[in-house]
Amino acid sequence: MVGLVLVSHSAGLAAETVALVRGIAGPEPPLAAAGGTRDGGLGTSLELIEEAVRAVDRGAGVVIVPDLGSSVLTARLVEEDGRVVVADVPFVEGAIAAAVAAGAGAPLADVLAAAEESRAYRKI
């Protein structure tokens, strides 16, 4: 099953988004949060992202959903072609779409496509 890592500048936002995604997508998809810096501040930690990727890696690939700025830039440094990919998608909607697809057993490319579809979702 494809794993999902949520990267935010804020540890609280990453953790709560994982909780929300878990509630909506169900128990199956491997999810991990990588929020803030190691010392608990706002920012991005390469080490926390690497640990989260390892924690959700079941061999079928990992999708990373970053919020913005340094989250995106740092996440892109851990990309591995065809195995660990960064999704350029809205944080909440993209994470939920990816997790639902991953939980249904979709392969990496389909999980990424599901996340990218969320870019076009209209709320109203």
């Binding site: 810096t37 920012g43 991005t44 340094s70 830039l73 892109r76 440094l77």
Partner: protein, 205 residues
Amino acid sequence: MDTDVLVAWFAETARLVHRERERLTDLDAAIGDADHGSNLDRGFSEVARALATSPPDTPAQVLATAGATLIRRVGGASGPLYGSVFRQMGKSLTSPVTLAGFAAAFEEGVVAAERLGKAALGDKTMVDALVPASRALALAVRDGVGVREAFEQAARAAADGAKATIPLQARKGRASYLGERSVGHEDPGAASAALLMAALATVVA
């Protein structure tokens, strides 16, 4: 140019960034999130410490250590961006280090940062100081000037490039959300890039 010069470059950068920490943070407070000074101060101090604790054997190793440390320790966007510059430089630099080899590796490092940040000249980012510095080095190589003068020209080009970001409207990062209100402020990333090049000119002077 040898390993010692590159180690000295990072020690001097750490010193300059620490000295200019408040100015960088003030620039960032105007259009960013007010952490550029503290983030870079922490990052380059860690680089200087890492290089002093376990001195590398080759110029490429100095750059690899600097890149990896900045990526791991800065916590803001400048960490991965500067980290990519030095990591790529470390991969591109050939031994023994000549001015031409350094200029070519630096250019590849700048391209790596441009690719990662998807930033181009005129976006009001560190690229606006790094690219003029890289061009100045390439011109110096073409004209056959000495290392000292080449790095002085690069430092001047970077400083001019940083000042030239003042009238620009930001197209990347938090500052881009300000639209026209980002005009009139020097970009903090370009300002720190100018310090990096000033440090290089100082250590070969």
